[in-house]
């Protein structure tokens, strides 16, 4: 290769006159245009973040957008549901036999338990009436609203789902959300709370979110009261925190919402008795004042399809 061959020659295959130093009008204008466009888009994003984060000025617009997108999300889900169900069916075949045996034994056990429970419930109702007892809110006081899950958590950090019901159905921020099939007695198991609601769509912060915490108690020992929150490791394990070392908590105990009584805004928004999970491990350590209790949630947060929102009764 000749020593005097220029880059231009190498690229274009022929010699080209060098442009004046002030040249490159087309590439310069294109570069300026490019920078302006990306600058404006970044600026628009920052403005959106600021407005959306600091005020509710864009909520109406966002609600309309979410409502417009809702039919597409439902349609996509319906179209793909048969395929998903087929995969689920094949997956279920693998452990169907052993699960069937286990469930039969469980049914027999629960039937005898049910007879005892029904008697206790009747007695409880009569005694509450007789005493004019005002306890924590119960599930029966809330109006259930069924909703489909439109969007599951979008990434590892995100611990929220979007559901197909909103303020039009009476849902308000703070409404408690349960999974219809998660718990026993038809109560459902706790999923989380509504943290944002627009006309026909709402966002639910899951119990596995770092900012979620619920006062909970042990079903077999209601003297045990602690706070259920996300564990530091895997998102499918919760922690029952703040339980004193003296309290008796056993493995496989069912943990339910405590629904503590409070005054005014401090009144618990969680009705008492919503199942959360079962104790998977319990230990004590000298370094901590409280027990280390791990709880396995009854809800599979990774595959929520439908939920029930408990709409609170209107305050007088």
């Amino acid at each position: 290769m000749p020593r005097n061959r220029t880059v231009r020659l190498a690229v274009l295959g022929s010699s080209v006159q060098r442009a004046a130093p002030s040249g490159y009008p087309s590439s310069r204008s294109s570069a300026v245009k490019r920078r302006i466009v990306v600058g404006l888009l970044v600026l628009a994003s920052l403005v959106l973040i600021t407005v959306s984060f600091r005020s509710s000025a864009l909520d109406g617009l966002q609600g309309t957008g979410a409502t417009v997108l809702r039919p597409f999300e439902i349609a996509a889900d319906r179209v793909t549901r048969p395929f998903a169900d087929t995969i689920g069916w094949f997956r279920g075949l693998a452990d169907a036999k052993s699960e069937n045996r286990k469930l039969r034994a469980q049914v027999a056990e629960l039937q005898s338990q049910l007879i005892l429970d029904e008697g206790a419930i009747q007695e409880n109702v009569q005694l509450r009436k007789a005493l004019d007892y005002h306890g924590p809110p119960s599930v029966a006081e809330f109006t259930p609203v069924n909703a489909a899950v439109l969007a599951n958590p979008q990434n590892a950090i995100d611990q929220s789902v979007t559901i197909s019901a909103g303020t039009s159905q009476g849902i308000v921020v703070g409404s408690v959300v349960v999974e219809p099939t998660g718990g026993s007695d038809g109560v459902g198991a706790l999923v989380g709370t509504v943290d944002r609601a627009v006309s026909n769509v709402a966002r639910v912060t899951l119990l596995t979110d770092a900012e979620s915490a619920v006062t909970a108690t042990d079903l077999t020992n209601t003297g045990v009261v602690g706070a259920i929150r996300r564990g530091s490791g895997s998102s499918d394990v919760l922690i029952l925190d703040r339980v004193p070392k003296q309290a008796v908590v056993r493995r496989d105990d069912t943990i339910i919402t405590a629904g503590t009584l409070g005054e005014g805004p401090l009144r618990s928004k969680f009705p008492r008795g919503i199942p959360i999970g079962t104790v998977s491990s319990q230990s004590l350590s000298d370094a901590s004042l409280f027990q280390n209790i791990q709880v396995k949630p009854l809800v599979d947060f990774s595959s929520l399809r439908s939920v029930v929102v408990l709409v609170p009764p209107k305050q007088p």
Binding site: S52, A76, Q154
Partner: protein, 170 residues
């Protein structure tokens, strides 16, 4: 015409991502939207990529009732940067989409963590980093079919359209 095609592709990818794919745990870490956007940006340039990223992010934030602008900002930067890479050095290199997806997947997770942290939202870095290898792998696996489809829909531009953007030195 390209804008319409890109809008349809990214809309379908976003709807699939939102309501179908994220039902399965592995797809919570990977993102078909990100892969599709990077493929479009790589083939159509920085401005196209940035605008597509902004609008796709806006749609995702709207649908999930998230803080508007967060995903837009991340996808705008991702689309612009990969578009620029496509305009300059990537050309028709086989590895370009894979390199783009790998680098942007890592930077996207870091950027998202940073934004969450700056907004005072929970930003569990350990959790995000724990899911990163899975995200990387899944996105790279998705790159092959997604890029093949998008390349078919967006044939590479003529050489003349691209070299306009390159400043000759020497």
């Amino acid at each position: 015409m390209d804008a319409l095609k890109a809008a349809v592709i990214l809309f379908v990818a976003a709807i699939l991502q939102l309501s179908v794919l994220t039902e399965y745990q592995p797809f919570r870490t990977g993102s078909v939207v990100l892969v599709a956007l990077l493929a479009v940006a790589l083939l159509r340039g920085s401005v196209f990529g940035a605008v597509a990223g902004f609008l796709t992010g806006l749609m995702l934030d709207t649908a999930t009732l998230g803080t508007l602008g967060v995903t837009s900002l991340l996808l705008t930067v991702a689309g612009f940067w990969i578009g620029r890479y496509g305009e300059t050095t990537a050309r028709d290199r086989f590895h370009a989409p894979y390199v783009s997806v790998a680098v942007v997947t890592v930077l996207y997770v870091v950027g998202e963590l940073l934004l969450q942290f700056m907004l005072g939202e929970p930003a569990p870095a350990a959790l995000a980093m724990h899911g990163l290898p899975g995200a990387l792998l899944l996105n790279l696996v998705l790159t092959l079919p997604v890029y093949a489809v998008i390349r078919r829909l967006f044939p590479p531009l003529e050489l003349g359209d691209r070299v306009r953007e390159v400043r000759l030195l020497g």
